[in-house]
């Protein structure tokens, strides 16, 4: 006999367990179909949502989708659950929780005080009942602020990760993209390189380059080379200038093992990076990347849908009070998110759920060339996320990452969002842009020549300034 049943319009729909209800209630996406857990029909999908709407939030504390005994992420979620914070919403069903989120009387402060009581599974469940506009309006209420050398996530602000990747990690090639980004007002979330290699001496050279550029231009921002946490630990040990510790994370212990990490390793890395005490206005030192589909791709999904598993990765992230969390939403390919519609939906879900759980969410709004998507889709996603209050997006020269071979957002795209939505960079960085003559007092981007003249003597820029 099935554990979950609902009679709807003369048809009985049965689900074997809560994971099946959740998977069937999810908006359609190719990754859940690939896993064989998606709803078999459009009507079954709505039936699952109807059933889900009447389930109490507290059920997710009892009926665990990934067994407590088998998975340290589940243990983290259950053991760190804040019962006092949960008390305010414990009486709600999933459907009533949606209405609580959308109610004008529920403000950002109410959401912030409930965050510790909300588990990833609860956030995922309610998001499955929310339309795209619901995901925008609820996320917009939430302001999750983090600090290192500047302040990320303030209302009315949009930060960018300047992503100056180069296929051979050539220092001058990287510096050229950084200079281009700075001229376009990019780089306040982080200046972060995906290295082409895992070679530690090369990564150390890139870290030194970034640090020299930052100090040479007196920039109030932070830098990062996005390499495995074990490499970062080794580089910290060797005295390399590490601001932030990066790691890709996922929502199950087995998928994290596939990434070569555990909570114990992340604990160690977090402590080692904090001990450097390089932040000036705060000590949020971790930078995490996530993305729907990573558990399935490492065959570690426990029959749970990819959006719920993504939310579980946020439980891993929030243990470390990160500076930045970034869902690389369209990178994984069409077998997980097929087209622009599915990528948009996932982007809004990830942003809302991450914010609800208390995280400083950014999005790598992106696609690969085998997905059914193009720049027009990215414009739509960027606009909706901007309205929703996304903390940061990527800045890639011309939106074309020549190292990773995918398309993200350009420096121009961030200018577009700042322009149409009246958003500014992080306050410390905005002041620096003005001081350097890159923007006028109103924040409007200016011609770059006073800046070029003033940084001409910075050795790490080589001859790039002419």
């Amino acid at each position: 006999m099935s554990a979950y049943r609902i009679d709807l319009a003369g048809t009985r729909y049965s689900f074997d367990n809560l994971a099946e209800v959740m998977a069937c209630a999810s908006p359609a996406r190719s990754g859940d179909a690939l896993a064989g857990i998606a709803a078999a029909s459009a009507q079954q999908r709505v039936a699952a949502r109807w059933l889900l709407a009447d389930l109490p939030l507290g059920l997710f504390l009892e009926d665990q989708l990934v067994p407590y005994e088998q998975d340290e992420v589940t243990r983290l979620i259950i053991d760190s659950h804040d019962r006092d914070a949960f008390a305010a919403i414990a009486h709600l069903t999933v459907g009533a929780c949606r209405e609580w989120l959308l109610d004008d009387a529920t403000d950002g402060a109410a959401l912030a005080s409930a965050a510790g009581g909300i588990t990833p599974e609860m956030a995922a469940a309610v998001s499955k009942l929310m339309r795209n506009q619901d995901l925008v309006i609820a996320a917009r209420k939430i302001e999750n602020i983090t600090r290192f050398r500047n302040t990320i996530g303030l209302r009315g602000r949009l930060s960018t990760r300047l992503q100056p990747n180069h296929p051979t990690d050539d220092p001058q090639g990287v510096a050229a993209s950084i200079l281009d980004g700075l001229l376009m007002g990019s780089g306040d979330a982080v200046i972060g390189i995906n290295p082409a290699t895992d070679d530690l001496p090369t990564i150390a050279r890139l870290l030194t380059l970034l640090d020299d550029l930052r100090m040479g231009m007196d920039m109030p921002t932070q830098t990062c080379v996005l390499t495995h946490v074990t490499n970062t630990l080794a580089l910290i040990g060797a005295g390399a200038p590490v601001d932030l510790c990066f790691q890709s994370i996922a929502g199950t212990q087995a998928a994290n093992r596939g990434f070569g990490i555990s909570l114990a390793l992340l604990d160690e890395a977090h402590a080692a990076t904090q001990a450097l005490a390089r932040g000036t206005v705060g000590q949020n030192v971790m930078y995490f990347e996530t993305g729907q589909g990573s558990c399935l791709s490492s065959n570690a999904h426990h029959g749970v849908d990819q959006q719920t598993l993504e939310c579980r990765a946020y439980a891993v992230a929030r243990r470390y009070s990160p500076l930045l969390v970034n869902s690389v939403v369209g990178f994984i390919g069409p077998e997980y998110l097929y087209d622009g519609k599915q990528i948009l939906r996932a982007a809004l879900e990830d942003h809302f759920c991450g914010k609800l759980l208390g995280l400083p969410m950014g999005l790598d709004i992106c696609y690969t060339n085998h997905a059914e998507a193009d720049q027009d889709d990215m414009d739509t996603i960027a606009t909706m996320l901007g309205v929703a209050g996304v903390s940061f997006i990527m800045g890639v020269p011309g939106a074309d990452d020549v190292m990773l071979g995918y398309q993200s957002t350009s420096f121009h795209d961030a200018l577009y969002l700042r322009s149409v939505l009246g958003l500014a960079p992080a306050p410390e960085f905005a002041a620096w842009l003005e001081r350097m003559g890159l923007t006028d007092p109103g924040g409007k981007l200016l011609r770059g020549d006073p800046f070029m003249a003033s940084v001409r003597g910075v050795p790490a820029l080589g001859g790039l300034c002419g």
């Binding site: 690939l34 193009d374 011309g398 121009h412 200018l415 790039l464």
Partner: protein, 250 residues
């Protein structure tokens, strides 16, 4: 148009060090028309490469009369191929039987992968450069031309041919800067269920901009002789290049 000063000298200085789309200028917040259309052309080229099919005879005619067999994966069309990587790793049932008579030590698979454009441009040339270097040391089977194929399809092909080793030449996922880049994946003792960590990979085979045919064939020959001595490929092959899992059309 663009209100950045000296945009041409700046672009020249920056572009000397990177092929990223640097200093493309701006109109207001937006990309100038020329740069926008250049981007669209590059994306269109990549999209067409993804959806291109191996033209009948296009690979065969480059094989200088070397025998070949055409096989299909269990993905019947491109849309299914893109949504179901698992089907691209299996042969359609009737094709497995057609390979069983062909005992070879070395199986060479020329596969479309995510860019038939790359496969048609470089696949046959690389296969014949391999034959030239390897024919005295290895009994090489007929070339297997594989449609709607992922890398791991080579495992089932190699297993059916009872080969010691399979080399899969396959089109890489197109980027904006290159839609015609080929990779070679080398797997010792191919059989279904092999892991990516058990393969070696040579990527960016793309004359004249990337690795040349001769360089790639030399490197493949070197890895083959080391694999035969060590009876393995992948991370277990000492000094072997570990396979970057996110790179290939696996």
């Amino acid at each position: 148009m663009a209100d950045l000063p000296d945009i041409t000298p700046l672009r020249q200085r920056l572009s000397a060090f990177t092929n990223a789309r640097v200093a493309i200028g701006r109109v207001g917040s937006s990309v100038p028309t020329g740069a926008m259309l250049e981007f669209q052309l590059a994306h269109a080229r990549a999209r067409d490469a993804v959806h291109d099919a191996l033209a009948p005879g296009a690979v065969e005619q480059g094989l200088a009369g070397w025998p070949s067999i055409s096989v299909h994966s269990a993905a019947p069309d491109r849309a299914t191929y893109l949504l179901r990587p698992d089907l691209g790793r299996q042969l359609q049932p009737e094709d497995a039987a057609s390979l069983q008579m062909d005992q070879a030590q070395l199986a060479i698979v020329i596969a479309d992968g995510l860019s038939a454009t790359a496969t048609m441009a470089h696949g046959a040339a690389l296969a014949m450069a391999m034959v030239e270097r390897l024919r005295h040391d290895w009994r090489i089977g007929p070339m297997v031309i594989a449609h709607q194929a992922r890398v791991a399809l080579g495992d089932e092909i190699g297993e059916a041919m009872d080969a010691q080793m399979v080399v899969v030449l396959i089109g890489e996922r197109p980027g904006l800067s290159a839609a015609d880049s080929l990779s070679a994946y080398l797997t010792w003792a191919p059989r279904r269920g092999r892991l990516d960590s058990e393969r070696n990979c040579i990527s960016n085979i793309r004359p004249p901009h990337g690795r040349s045919i001769a360089e790639a064939a030399d490197e493949i020959a070197r890895i083959l002789s080391r694999a035969r001595a060590a009876q393995c490929t992948g991370v277990a092959l000492a000094g072997g290049e570990a396979l970057a899992a996110e790179e290939g059309p696996d």
